[in-house]
């Protein structure tokens, strides 16, 4: 009893070879102006021993037409947000506005060199400064660095700030005793990996049967006096708001630790609640999630780090700050306790490298600047009411899906979800159908699957995040598709187990790929000889 599939993509270009296999000697895809200086014998400029002797063998030779067809054909094998709902939980796959792309390509920004004298790049610095102001308002945390290039990079920055703060507060001996970072068992893998980079060992906090941080376990872990901090995602990766967040922060603070919030799920909070008001000390944001900068097939991202005034001196350098006239006896501008008059002699903004407590630089130049332009355009396009509206729409869409799937799928937690909702394959496994199979079958219905097998604490997890960018009809189609798969799992499990059926290729043997990895193309002859 195969149900009718209404939303399927077909693949018109099934066989586009690797560019190396298409390459033909003598094909050309470019033209440069002729060299307009007298050509010297190369070896008189650079000794022969320093020059390539392989004539770039193997690098492709193709025409411009070949290039366009190659990539356009390959592109048709991708699913993308622009084609439809892309409900990867914790990834916030929302619409990427064309306007933001246009802004990022304005020549005055796109052509600007990062080592330009600050005086000649005031417009670019103004974008950074204004975005910092907005993110401070949105998070309730006034100290901002836009330097981190992605979420995990922002995490590393935030955790290093915690480490630096404790080192400064407790001194070397005292700090050496605080080397434990607490992380819930539901956290993203980047959290423990980032903690490790900052020299912390990780202790895992249990979640309750409600799907929230276990306060008793947290108290117990905090009672040993070695806790440097807690890394908490809120709403957590089950899509649930940690309603005890204030108590959680109190427990950690009383134990002498700091609270880091993973802001991956800020799309549930913008304009509704602010981490700074909850007692959180430091957070990272993902501009490529919450603020809609494109995911680009895996990046680039931008992972701003936002912190309290107390932690601000530890942020990466350079800081982008207002030029102010120093009044006699004024304290350091970074304490923010005084607001000297604006300096009219100098440009409005400057780079401040003089931050002796800073953790240092985490990336060359200023970070992923192009993403900052897009995020600022997002904030300006939405306006303050639009930002809240987007949050409401995102949470409502998740709630709608939660409501629509409850009759066919096991929902392990009763608490109402925020922007994402987790289900499991518990009911389907009776017939041998697992989360992976459901995900693959969903492809046949024309949807990108949800995040699967994450969070790790939920067996057979399916984490669904629709975002605000999906209309009701498509939500209904998705719910219908999922319910149809649930029926298929009972009536015709083989159909689900062998999915997808409509893609250019079937399930790939990933185990074989990892056993004997082939990670690059090699010319035939050499591959055979090897």
């Amino acid at each position: 009893m195969k149900s009718e599939i209404t939303k399927v993509t077909s693949h018109i270009n099934p066989n586009e070879a690797l560019i190396f296999e298409r390459s033909q000697p003598g094909r050309i895809g470019y033209r440069l102006p002729p060299l307009d200086v007298d050509e010297q014998v190369l070896e008189t400029l650079i000794p022969k021993a320093f020059l390539r002797d392989d004539d770039l063998e193997g690098v492709p030779e193709v025409s411009e037409v070949d290039i366009i067809r190659h990539f356009v054909r390959m592109s048709t094998w991708n699913y993308s947000i622009d084609q439809g709902m892309y409900p990867l939980g914790s990834c916030t796959m929302k619409y990427n506005s064309r306007l933001n792309e246009k802004v990022a390509r304005i020549p005055g920004f796109a052509g600007l060199h990062p080592l330009t004298d600050a005086e000649d790049a005031q417009g670019a610095l103004e974008v950074i400064y204004e975005l910092q102001q907005h993110l401070a308002e949105i998070t309730g945390l006034p100290g901002i660095s836009l330097q981190p290039a992605a979420g995990a990079h922002g995490e590393m920055t935030g955790v290093m700030i915690i480490r630096a703060f404790i080192d400064a507060r407790d001194g070397e001996a005292g700090s050496a005793k605080r080397r434990t970072m607490l992380i819930p068992d539901s956290a993203h893998g980047t959290n423990p990996a980032s903690a490790h980079l900052s020299g912390f060992s990780v202790k895992t906090i249990r979640s309750t049967s409600e799907g929230l941080t276990d306060l008793d376990h947290l108290r117990e872990l905090c009672s040993h006096g070695e806790v440097a901090g807690l890394m908490l995602t809120n709403p957590n990766t089950l899509g649930l708001f940690e309603k005890n967040i204030q108590e959680i922060c109190r427990i950690v603070h009383d134990a002498g630790g700091l609270v880091y919030m993973d802001g991956a799920n800020m799309n549930a909070l913008v304009g509704v609640a602010r981490p700074g008001d909850m007692g959180v000390d430091v957070i990272h944001l993902n501009l490529h999630k919450t603020f809609s900068t494109p995911h680009g097939g895996g990046g680039p991202g931008c992972g701003p780090c936002c912190c309290t005034r107390e932690l601000e001196p530890f942020l990466p350098v350079p800081r982008i700050v207002l030029n102010r006239v120093e009044s006699a006896g004024s304290t350091a501008a970074s304490t923010g306790t005084r607001h000297p008059a604006p300096d009219t002699q100098h440009p409005r903004l400057r780079l401040d490298f003089n931050q002796p407590q800073s953790i240092g630089r985490v990336k060359a130049f200023f970070g992923n600047y192009g993403m900052m332009l897009r995020a600022l355009a997002y904030i300006q396009t939405h306006g303050n009411d639009g930002l809240r509206e987007a949050t409401e729409a995102a949470v409502l869409n998740a709630r709608y899906i939660a409501h629509g799937l409850t009759s066919d799928y096991d929902k392990p937690y009763n608490n109402p979800p925020m922007h994402e909702v987790v289900f499991t394959d518990k009911r389907q496994t009776r017939k041998g159908v697992h989360t992976l199979d459901i995900a693959k079958r969903l492809i046949d219905y024309g949807f990108h699957p949800m995040t699967i097998y994450f969070p790790l604490i939920v067996q057979g997890a399916m984490l669904i995040e629709p975002t605000e960018s999906v209309g009701r009809q498509e939500l209904d189609q998705f719910i219908e598709a999922m319910c149809s798969i649930a029926r298929e799992a009972v009536d015709d499990p083989e159909l689900v187990l062998s999915a997808p059926h409509t893609t250019r290729i079937g399930r790939l043997d990933e185990a074989a790929a990892a056993r004997k990895p082939v990670l690059r193309w090699k010319p035939k002859a050499r591959a055979d000889a090897a």
């Binding site: 895809g29 440069l32 190369l42 650079i46 000794p47 390539r52 030779e61 193709v62 366009i68 990539f71 094998w77 991708n78 699913y79 993308s80 947000i81 622009d82 084609q83 892309y86 990867l88 792309e101 990022a104 020549p107 920004f109 052509g111 990062p114 330009t116 000649d120 990079h153 590393m156 993203h188 980079l197 609640a273 993902n286 490529h288 680009g296 895996g298 990046g299 680039p300 990466p316 990336k363 060359a364 130049f365 600047y369 332009l373 355009a377 300006q380 306006g383 930002l387 809240r388 987007a390 409502l396 409501h403 492809i443 209309g471 009701r472 290729i505 079937g506 790939l508 082939v518 990670l519």
Partner: protein
Amino acid sequence: MRYIPNSPEERAEMLQHVGLNSADDLFDSIPQELRLTRNLNTPAALSEIELLAGFDKLAQQNRAAKCTSFLGAGAYQHYIPTVVDHIISRSEFFTAYTPYQPEISQGTLQAIFEFQTLVCQLTGLEVANASMYDGSTALAEAVLMAERVTKRSKVIACGAIHPEYLDVVTTYVQHAGIELVRAEFDTASGQTSDVADLIDGNTAALVVQSPNFFGCIEDVTALAERAHAAGALLIVAVTEAISLGLLKSPGACGADIVVAEGQSFGVPLSFGGPYVGLFATREKYARQIPGRLVGEAYDKQGRRGFVLTLATREQHIRREKATSNICTNEGLIALAATVYLETMGRRGLQEVAQQCAQKTAYAAKQIAALDGFSVPFSAPRFNEFVVRAPKPAKELLAHLASEKNITGGLPLSRYFKDRSNDFLICVTEMNSRADIDALVAGLASAANDN
């Protein structure tokens, strides 16, 4: 809000459908005292017309973007074929995410496989990953990897490495128990001085940038021999990746890990990012590499495809024992680099690199002949070189910018307080002979003006 498909009426119906009365009820799990009762203090919504006008106005203030530029030092102005931006602007590429579901991500996966192959070809190494954030963080990850591979804790940073790269490495290793030792550079040649005294049995890696920060090409082969003799790895960093089209590949010189900034491959300057870090190493270290890897795989019908592979190195599986914390990388920029490299192709990469070297030689010769100016480092160069001016470089270049609309290079005083008269010039295929002549004339007149 035009990006939200559901109208307010539809949303009201949906609320009712899920049993709620108002949008506020969606947030019942947030304690009342934590909920904002006011609007955010961010600007009201702008139309497209207003928004573009605002950004255009800001862009106008970036005066330097309108100048002829000889600024390099880790970010380079190169020709970008039109097709690059067209391809990366396709919805299917820029609005997809990490290819977790290979059946519907083959476009991204095959492109990454091609990227990995190109990076191997250019660096002369056997395995390359799917990208790092940029050259500086790639270098930091290389240093951490060398410590894992050798189980040694001392790392020697040779000669003239980009100061911002060194800063980033310093930040990354500060809690990793790694001792970072700086080796001097020879002030006559501009290359790394002898490092024999610094290398010992606890040295994990020797790190060298070539061409180095001053534009000098290092003797990578000799340094590799030095490192290997002590059982250490050689890490080579390349900030100007176009040099790989002309210079002997670091892998062929004996490097064990090569990292590079890929911005020169079709990526706009964009005030410092997003760029893309290249990371390559020897096959025997493949399981120690940070970041994502794409490998070949086959389905039941024997059809070839590509998948993310060797993921047991990564944070989502290995957590605190992962080779790196990186998750999101620079996917779309790696795609731009791939399109660039394939469009320019074998001959184009050679020609661009040749033009850079020839024009640089021309510029260096003209400037060295100017009264009061000299080119202090004697080592062979690719497309950057240091110039010593008869007066403070910052002042000289400011004059050149305001009088002639030329950004004449980077005053080295930005990083080296004792080099106030020195500045770093970069010449690429984008600088015509007329540009170079104008620079030379401008420098002469700026030096004489007072």
